[in-house]
Point group: C2
Chain length 400, copies 2
Amino acid sequence: MANKLRGNAVVGQSGGPTAVINQSLVGVVFEASKHPQIENIYGARHGVKGILGEDFVDLKRESIGDLEAVANTPASALGSVRQKPTTEECARIFEIFRKHDVRYFFYIGGNDSAEAASIINDLAKDAEYEFRTFHVPKTIDNDLLVSDHTPGFGSAARFIALATMGDDCDNRSLPGIKVNILMGRKAGFLTAATMLARQHDDDGPHLVYPPECTFSLDKFLGSVAAVYQKLGRCLVCVGEGVAEKIPEIKLQEKDSHGNVQLSGSGFFGDFLANQIKAKLGAKRVRADTYGYLQRSFAGCVSEVDAFEARRVGEFAVRWAVAENVDGSVAIRRLGDGKDYAVDFVSTPLETVARNTKSMPADWLVSEQSDISEKFRTYALPLVGELPRQGRLAAYPIKKK
Amino acid sequence: MANKLRGNAVVGQSGGPTAVINQSLVGVVFEASKHPQIENIYGARHGVKGILGEDFVDLKRESIGDLEAVANTPASALGSVRQKPTTEECARIFEIFRKHDVRYFFYIGGNDSAEAASIINDLAKDAEYEFRTFHVPKTIDNDLLVSDHTPGFGSAARFIALATMGDDCDNRSLPGIKVNILMGRKAGFLTAATMLARQHDDDGPHLVYPPECTFSLDKFLGSVAAVYQKLGRCLVCVGEGVAEKIPEIKLQEKDSHGNVQLSGSGFFGDFLANQIKAKLGAKRVRADTYGYLQRSFAGCVSEVDAFEARRVGEFAVRWAVAENVDGSVAIRRLGDGKDYAVDFVSTPLETVARNTKSMPADWLVSEQSDISEKFRTYALPLVGELPRQGRLAAYPIKKK
């Protein structure tokens, strides 16, 4: 049903940035420019915080060249925020939307952002304010419900695969035990992406612990010792969320969604490295925390990811305007999985708000502290082709 | 003077890996294959450790395709080592070289590796064993004497520039105070490379502390507070070597060259972040340690760096065989600096062994805790073109 609702649109970005979140922003702006129902396109700076502060910018005045450059730039060009608006704040948001004749609201973010959009949308209904809200999905964690995968994940997973590939070569050069900490509080998709680094039989990572695994420090140390004994080195990749399963570790800082602060600190990697040093007596033990580089590295973008991020922005506008519905954009994978193909569908806001998903249980190979090859089949099309890692055939010379 | 010395060649890799150290290896192998004076090309696994263990591989049997793939793979394909051979070990090395009729030794590494090569070469002279040694320079630290710059630096600096670019966008999206720790114990070239991330006036890094700076924790906190006050955010980049200037920090583990272990741990970043939290009361304070990703990330290579790394390997062989000299390869920059051009010259081993260089004093802008634009002129040709970071013009909408 074509939509007669005319007015201005607001677009905002929320939650942790990604390498392609600006593709979605630009998708929203370009698509919105095509529809006469949308007069002005306002960008809210720092998401709901910008709406509350009436801090809007005029996105229709931006040049197409600048917008394309922004699309290829990591992190949220409008600024982001981690804020769940209170009922009072939502009331204030309507006041501002009414004043500015805002009839379309597009919120780019993860499940927390979908929740914020959903709250605002519900209040609009209660207030009988005619209004369309669409959530535009993004999250490197890949933990949104309904969708096969989420824009932002492919590029982050690509960074992680490349970093782990190089780090495994590094660890082979100067053998020792290396612990890498990956983003992901609850969902292990990013941790699992480390397994994409493997091309030869003894390539690392040799042990992979996503947050979904059952974790015991003793068993962990035993597994590390066994690999180290066998290969003379060991590359272990651990999701940051595993820290919450270790009673000795205290976590404090929380954001307004109740999420514990795990990133932006090297403590968990150092904790595990120190345990390995102390209990296994291994000499060369190092830890790296990939940190914010995973989501914002400039110049490591999966092409598929960038394309899909643009498309979800476009579809959100198209459905809100042409179909006159609220919701979120989901990506469905088509076919038998051999050839990669997707389509985009709309899904009600409440289906993606709040709750998140974990990796399918059968992608974990718990007894080997590893990830199933099913993950590779799933993730590789999202990540794109990876460079072949060369290795010497290394024909030995006889000792004399 | 053409060289009549015929026999086998040994090539080894030593010290910290780089993204292009295998280019030098392949440069040695390809060039050595052209000279009839070199019969076999043996690769020593893990540098002097492999020589001592007679652990050689036959590099002439490798396929050209595999070698080219190895050249494009980060870290040391032969394996690396951090070991300064003792006098006894050097005696054992000759014994093995004699047995295998080794007359050419190429050692790819930094100043520590040049020192090891120099020790072996001196003992060869004392033993009147006719023998040519060439050191092939590599180090991400860029701290070798004589050379304008060192293969490995350009790619590491490129990684750092891209990471910092993205991280600055991330910090702008979710404002706070961010501390990044960069590799480099004494030389600040890698820390300085963070300044290449700047494209707009208020882009970070806002404060840069290479190891050469004078550092006071109080002044540091004052500077961070001032930037945070002004911009509402602050991106600070600190060389890991600065940790040695802070009395509160105890550093323990040392390698056999007496170098303190600083990498492979997040402690220094966390220390600074905790100081900022405690003393400035700032809320969102995060730290990342770029760690080993700086030297081994797969798929972030400067073209100039890869090319020059190949060339220094080739020149080492050419000079040893055709010119019959020992030494190391140095890169000289030519012209007025406007157009990038270099040539390669040979320099005696002792000129690059042991000692290292720091950044020129006038590249530090100490009063602003910053790096001079002179560094950009110097480093940009080595790093290659960087992606343009887009930014919204952000025309404000009037509040109503």
